[in-house]
């Protein structure tokens, strides 16, 4: 056989920091190009046998890693070890925003990265494809048929490093970054000059990360809305939408059924006169009429000839067998002058859910003694379907959908407020110097 002298097992190198003598173990084997001494924060050239010191980080710049380096966890079927941690920051509106980045290593599968900002996490993989740029007022990037909207262009500065890195790191170094979002995914480019690398992040919760590494304490609470955090309403609103569509369909079927089968039967049509000044009993009862069919509504319509006049009618719909009564009062007034008109001559009311049976109306008209006489008709109809109830029903059904859409919009609003394209541009509120 040919050159087949098997190579020995690859061992992690145990070295010492040339500055403080502290132990340096290279967990990334020969892939680590930079290592940082956890004790004295010397940045070391891990590719040189003597661990040449490249830089010393001041102790005051130390940042705390939220995940313990050296811990292993499974992503998919692959176990990765946390080998490096860095903090990077951007300056915006005079403020510095810092986030953490973690290097994960598997000796066969290579490197994976985690990012964390305000308790929001992303699992980030380098990608090899070249996304297509869509240049517009609001640029976007397209990859695998998916569009990622440009979120932010920034200059990211390395603030702190710890552990090992498969590239040469340096505190103070700056790269240009661009983020493109399509929640829960985040496409990012990073580069200096002509060399641009692309990566694809996927949003995960701190809870998932803590579970992955088997950490006992609790992850930091996430606050704010992150660039590629999935909108919690997107999934729910589709469920809401489903319920909504089925409810509307059921409502329409019910309406259609009631409209087709409604009796719309006139059971009483009488003309009466009211003389306001007249003394004595003005109230009367109508002849008995029968309400047939299922329990349904009864429409009581009053048409009058009031003109610059008013009357009041106390109605009672009374079941002559059981004595059950439905009381209701109607005021009818109509005024007209050169400015226009007010009120109306006619009135209509529906008494809902009246069981079938024999009924009569007790009518008690009232009016000011000096009012003119009124001639009026009372028309009683059985089972008159009302479109209004269905319209009200429809609006009642849309309320959850409207609430959901609003909350979804609020979420996107806060997300994009942090971007280069805020939904509402904030004018600087420089009123702090005002006298009181």
């Amino acid at each position: 056989m040919g050159p087949g002298v098997p190579q020995p097992k690859v061992k992690a190198q145990s070295l010492h920091c040339p500055n403080c003598g502290g132990p340096i173990e290279l967990r990334g084997f020969a892939h680590s190009l930079t290592a940082v001494c956890a004790g004295c924060l010397s940045v070391l050239d891990a590719s040189s046998p003597t661990l040449h010191i490249l830089q010393k980080i001041q102790e005051k710049n130390r940042r705390k890693s939220k995940l313990p380096l050296g811990t292993r966890g499974k992503f998919g079927n692959t176990t990765y070890e946390l080998t490096g941690f860095q903090t990077r920051g951007i300056e915006a509106d005079g403020e510095t925003y810092e986030w953490g980045e973690y290097v994960l290593f598997n000796p066969y599968k290579g490197f994976l990265y985690l990012t964390e900002y305000n308790g929001h996490w992303n699992v980030v993989r380098p990608i090899r494809a070249l996304p297509e740029m869509i240049r517009a007022a609001r640029p976007a990037a397209k990859m695998n048929g998916e569009v990622y909207r440009h979120f932010q262009h920034a200059s990211a500065r390395t603030v702190f490093v710890l552990g090992e890195f498969p590239w040469r790191v340096k505190v103070g170094e700056t790269v240009v970054t661009d983020d493109y979002t399509n929640p829960p995914k985040l496409l990012s480019s990073e580069g200096t000059g002509s060399e641009i690398t692309w990566s694809l992040g996927e949003y995960v919760t701190g809870q998932q990360i803590w579970q992955t590494f088997g950490l006992k304490d609790s992850p930091p609470v996430a606050y704010g809305t992150y660039v590629n955090q999935p909108n919690p309403r997107t999934g729910k609103s589709s469920a809401t939408g489903k319920v909504f569509r089925w409810s509307v369909l059921a409502l329409m079927l019910l309406a259609a059924y009631l409209f087709v089968t409604a009796r719309r039967e006139t059971v009483l049509n009488e003309r009466h006169h009211f003389y306001p000044g007249q003394t004595g009993e003005q109230s009367f009862v109508t002849p008995e009429f029968e309400l047939k069919g299922r329990t349904s509504n009864v429409e009581v319509k009053t048409t009058t000839d009031v003109e610059n006049n008013w009357m009041y009618l106390n109605y009672a719909l009374i079941n002559s067998e059981t004595g059950a009564a439905y009381d209701f009062g109607r005021e009818i007034s109509y005024y007209r002058d050169s400015d226009g008109t007010e009120g109306g001559k006619n009135d209509s009311i529906r008494v809902p859910a009246v069981p079938p049976g024999k009924y009569y109306l007790r009518v008690e008209p009232e009016g000011d003694a000096k009012n003119s006489p009124v001639e009026y008709d009372i028309i009683v109809r059985r089972d008159v379907p009302s479109i209004l109830f269905f319209i009200l029903g429809f609006f009642a059904l849309t309320l959850p959908a409207i609430a959901s859409a609003w909350s979804s919009w609020r979420f996107e609003y806060t997300r994009w407020q942090e971007s280069d394209y805020p939904k509402v541009s904030t004018t600087s509120s420089s009123s702090s110097g005002d006298d009181d």
């Binding site: 040919g2 050159p3 002298v5 690859v10 190009l33 000796p107 066969y108 380098p126 090899r128 070249l130």
Partner: protein, 212 residues
Amino acid sequence: MSQPGSNCPNCGAPVSFRFSAAAQTTCPYCNSILVRTDVDLEKVGEVADLPPDASPIQIGTEGIYGNKAFVVVGRIIYDWEQGSWNEWHLAFNDGTSGWMSDAQLEYDVSFLSDPKIHLPAADQVRPGATLKFNNVDYETTVTTTAHYRGVQGELPFKYFDKSDMVFVDLRSRDGRFGTIDYSENPPLLFLGQPVEFDDLKMKNLREFEGWN
């Protein structure tokens, strides 16, 4: 397909070939670089000590790409400003050969391809230029200057002491990649694609302390 073996002219160790079209190999025992002649092997040099290496692939690693089985028979190690990478020479079971690059555990498989057009000179390539090969548009991304760090095993050409060499990387929208290799004139074109480690179903890999 193994060929009848010869002996290393330097140390006498048996040397055999797995890739019939190999032009040279290295002696696994004394690290002599051996070139095939019509009759035997001729020593043309010696491999310098190889840098510490943590690739999980080694000579003798077997795997499957497409529907073809391959065995790793040789490699070239390149150095550049951000470290080093390996180009593993793959001998397929149908007698063809290809390359698998392992740059910090990102793997690509590529094959020597006929560009069918005149390739631009290295100093005339601008990042972002588009070149079309086999009806696929490739965009030039980076130009890398690297140098030979060492060789091992069977290679399809004779080794000669190249120093600095220039590569131009190409990428397509769908993730295919290419490299123009300016170490020869006219330059060579390699076209290929990234591969997932698990998809290659490799055996006879190296082991890592604490990971097996």
